[in-house]
């Protein structure tokens, strides 16, 4: 929260509290120690660098990384490069900034330093890239697999066209209330990172994709592709790979009802398989 003192209004319009780093003026001698697993390119070897940054209240991990960019020098005084990482919205809605923070998959922009430094406020923080996706550089990873999976389950409503066809069918609030939470998925891939089944051996699509398939099956017009979606989720890598560890639902930053979605879709996939068996 801003802490700047009141400014004289004359000729100095907007409070500099909005542009400056107000808490700077209150900075104590406390520092934040942060160790970051770095890797210059997909092929190069990883190494850890440690930084010490002056403590300010209310920092998040992304502002910590911004602070390093201003002065990229390690704790031993070695000049280095700013850290590469993905971030855009800084308010946990774009899904860009997932990483391992103190070993846990979290969104960096909503991870507050004060909460991460332990009860005494002196604990060190560690940052590392997500472990199940190819590293691009430092904390940035390639998560395009999720977008590919969304294509496989046809996660869209196949509208006839964009011309004016009048209103959509009515939809009771109860249906909207079921669909909206699923539609909140920010494609952060944390559910995939924490899933024991999400690995090359199983080829599991992961919880997010299954939840999106359910979302579109629930849409009155989207339901027309329901059989296609269910077939895409049948067999190897599909919904059957889930081992119900429940890690996903606990880690999801947007609290999607993932286990419910997986079990609903598991049932629907089974029904579809039976149907397909008898109509073939």
């Amino acid at each position: 929260m801003s802490t700047a003192t009141l400014e004289a209004p004359a000729k100095s319009p907007m409070s500099t509290s909005v542009s400056e780093t107000p808490a700077r003026t209150r900075a104590t001698n406390r520092t934040i120690k942060v160790s970051i697993k770095r890797q210059a390119s997909p092929e190069s070897k990883a190494a850890t660098e440690t930084f010490e940054i002056p403590y300010r209240p209310n920092m998040n991990i992304t502002s910590l990384l911004g602070e390093i960019a201003l002065n990229p020098t390690t704790v031993t005084g070695v000049d280095t490069t700013p850290i590469s990482y993905d971030a855009n919205c800084l308010e946990e809605i774009c899904g860009s900034c997932a990483m391992l923070i103190n070993g846990k998959a979290m969104m960096a922009c909503s991870a507050l330093v004060d909460k991460l430094m332990g009860p005494n406020g002196d604990g060190a923080i560690t940052l590392a890239p997500l472990s199940k996706f190819p590293v691009v550089r430092d904390l940035a990873v390639d998560r395009s697999v999720l977008f590919e999976n969304l294509k496989k389950v046809k996660a869209w409503v196949p509208i006839d066209g964009t011309y004016d066809l009048g209103p959509a069918p009515r939809q009771f609030p109860q249906v909207q209330e079921q669909r909206y939470p699923l539609s909140n998925c920010i494609s952060c891939t944390i559910c995939m990172e924490v899933c024991p089944q999400f690995n090359e051996a199983t080829g599991f699509v992961g919880a997010a994709t299954i939840a999106q398939a359910k979302l579109f099956n629930m849409d009155p017009a989207g339901a027309v592709l329901k059989p296609d979606r269910l077939r895409a989720l049948a067999g190897d890598g599909g919904v059957q790979e889930c081992s119900f560890s429940q890690n996903c639902v606990q880690a999801c930053p947007k609290q999607l009802p993932l286990t419910e979605a997986i079990s609903d879709m598991g049932r629907d996939v089974f029904v579809q398989q039976v149907k397909d068996f008898f109509t073939r």
């Binding site: 800084l90 977008f147 009515r170 009771f172 249906v175 017009a221």
Partner: protein, 591 residues
């Protein structure tokens, strides 16, 4: 590029505007290459909270599209050209229906119809919403349609590519773009018959704002430096209610007030009681008192100035700090539920539960009304370069009404897409290589110069100083001496930029390199904004000069057009289209 084959269109930017354009082109049989810095699903549009306007009149209030038209023009203090505004508001209801058909989980009434909430600058329930995450839901719906076209081979995505400049042919017409791969750092040109720029806002010029990190305005500035007009750059919306923060100003949407949220400060500035325990009679609801008809839902420029005055002139900020209360704690749980998305943001980042205690907020830079100059077909003055969304200037005049941006993005994309197709079909074959080799060489030379620079200036520090100067002199209240100071400062920063030093010279996923290239463009754009503000000696919408407190229609009912001449902004003025509604005084106080 031969026009006889399928037209090839490049769309730069995958927010609501860009995706809307892509969908129209793919639907009409064109081929699209879609470029975006971030995966399009992570574009800034995802942040929009409150909703999207359209006069569907589902609440028995007698709302209609002409009232929406009038509210928009009046809210924009008559600076917007009226023809496109009229078309946009007329298409509003059909656009909402389309989004509904695409599966956007809009909130519903018990009968299953779309629900609407109130927003600023209107007396009607005109804003369709999906909880408090409307932008996310709309962006996803369009993203899904584009994914469908992608899987059908009609759209090719270039995510993680940054637009650097347009490739211009022998007659100055668009023949392609030059872009940089943000992983391999390769710079390359791509051919096309027309390009649509949908690169969003430019909040980063102010350091901290409610915008996302990539909203630098860099692409618009690059085009301005290549000869495009940039219009009304001085009109920057400062949103009244944002959470002051370390790294960014997190918005508390106008929907909080639309659902009944109230803005107040303690009547006694020495009142030290906890907000929740201050009785009704000891609270000063200054907006409701001064604007009995619109109350907390006056347009943003007005609410922002009032909060600013309460804090700096009346010295009534909470605890003497630049903050006032935004209170939703008295609302019913059902209403609070509709605001869940934003209340969660407050709880997460501040730590207090806004369902129980009033939020502490202050204005923050939010939106640019100005942008690339376009004609009514969304084409810039560079033939074949179109623009739409927050990146163009066309709809919002001197002040944007809440929930009108999402509509203008979709409208703009829907107009730009088909027009770019028509243009491309009629385009004669290019001469020579269409300017590709020359543009590639120019960009590569800029890259080399930056990498070889042995200076001492840290780009992030230059950026911080730019943000401080712009926030101080070019936001809520503007004075000519301050604007002169800002211009001198930017010139100094441009000078220091020549001495910039990259601590990272590697050629793989080098984010500071890309940022440093953007920074130059931010500096050039900041100059044109300040110059436009300096010359406009009046007050209109978001542009407020205490030394010139009145709107001066005779001299300034004009669009500001900046062009880049001899390395500096040159300002000319253009008549505004007022063919439907005669300008009248803008007064929200009367009851």
């Amino acid at each position: 590029m031969a026009a006889a084959t399928t037209p090839r269109i490049i769309v730069v930017g995958g927010g609501l505007a860009g995706l809307s354009a892509v969908i129209k082109i793919a639907e009409a049989g064109g081929k699209v290459d879609l470029f975006s810095i971030v995966p399009v699903k992570r574009s800034h549009s995802v942040c929009a909270q409150g909703g999207i306007n359209a006069a569907k009149n589902l609440k028995g209030e007698g709302d209609d599209v002409l009232k929406h038209f009038d509210d928009t023009v009046y809210g924009g203090d008559f600076l917007a050209n009226q023809t496109p505004v009229k078309q946009m508001t007329a298409q509003g209801p059909a656009i909402i229906d389309l989004l509904d058909r695409m599966g956007v989980p809009f909130n519903r009434t018990p009968e299953g119809l779309l629900d609407f909430r109130r927003f600023g600058g209107t007396l009607y329930h005109r804003t369709a919403f999906a909880g408090a995450t409307a932008g996310q839901q709309l962006l996803y719906a369009l993203d899904e349609q584009v994914r469908r076209y992608e899987s059908e081979g009609k759209v090719t995505k270039y995510e993680g590519w940054e637009f650097m400049s347009a490739v211009l042919g022998s007659k100055g017409e668009a023949r392609g773009i030059c872009a940089m791969n943000l992983r391999s750092m390769e710079t390359q040109t791509f051919p096309c018959d027309a390009v649509i720029i949908c690169t969003g806002g430019n909040g980063a010029i102010f350091g901290k704002s409610t915008n996302s990190v990539v909203c630098t305005g860099s692409a618009q500035s690059a085009l301005y430096q290549q000869g495009a007009y940039y219009a009304n750059g001085e009109f920057i919306q400062v949103h009244p209610t944002a959470i002051p923060g370390e790294d960014k100003l997190r918005l508390m949407s106008e929907s909080a007030r639309g659902e009944g949220g109230r803005v107040w400060v303690p009547r006694d500035k020495l009142d030290k009681r906890a907000a929740a325990s201050i009785p009704e009679g000891d609270r000063w609801y200054f907006l409701e008192e001064r604007y009995p008809k619109y109350g907390n839902l006056v347009p943003r420029d007005i609410a922002t100035r009032e909060i600013f005055k309460v804090v700096y002139e009346d010295e009534m900020g909470i605890d003497g700090q630049p903050m006032v209360y935004l209170d939703v704690s008295h609302l019913s749980p059902e209403r609070q539920n509709k605001l869940e998305g934003i209340l969660e943001i407050y709880e997460k980042f501040v730590g207090d539960d806004p369902r129980k205690v009033p939020m502490k907020i202050f204005p923050g830079v939010h939106y640019t009304m100005g942008g690339l100059w376009v004609d009514f077909e969304q084409q810039t003055n560079i033939p074949g370069v179109f623009a739409a969304g927050e990146a163009d200037y066309s709809i919002h005049g001197a002040n944007r009404l809440g929930a009108n941006s999402l509509l203008s993005c979709i409208y703009g994309g829907f107009v730009a897409g088909p027009n770019a197709m028509a243009y491309a079909k009629a385009l004669p074959a290019q001469e020579g290589d269409g300017g590709h080799a020359a543009e590639l060489a120019r960009q590569k030379q800029k890259n080399q110069a930056l990498l070889n620079n042995k200076g001492t200036q840290n780009p992030f520090k230059i950026w911080r100083e730019l943000g401080e100067t712009m926030t101080k002199h070019a936001t809520i209240v503007r004075y000519n001496p301050g604007l002169d100071e800002a211009d001198a400062k930017i010139v100094e920063l441009l000078d220091r930029y020549r001495d910039v030093n990259l601590s990272d010279k590697s050629q793989w996923a080098n984010t500071s390199f890309a940022f440093t290239r953007q920074l130059y463009n931010m500096l050039e754009m900041a100059r044109l904004m300040v110059k436009g503000a300096r010359l406009r000696d009046e007050s209109r919408g978001a542009h407020y000069k205490p030394d010139f407190p009145n709107r001066e229609d005779k001299e300034f009912l004009k669009t500001t057009k900046a062009s880049f001449v001899d390395g500096a902004p040159k300002i000319t003025f253009e008549e505004v289209d007022t063919s439907f509604i005669a300008p009248r005084p803008r007064v929200y106080t009367s009851s």
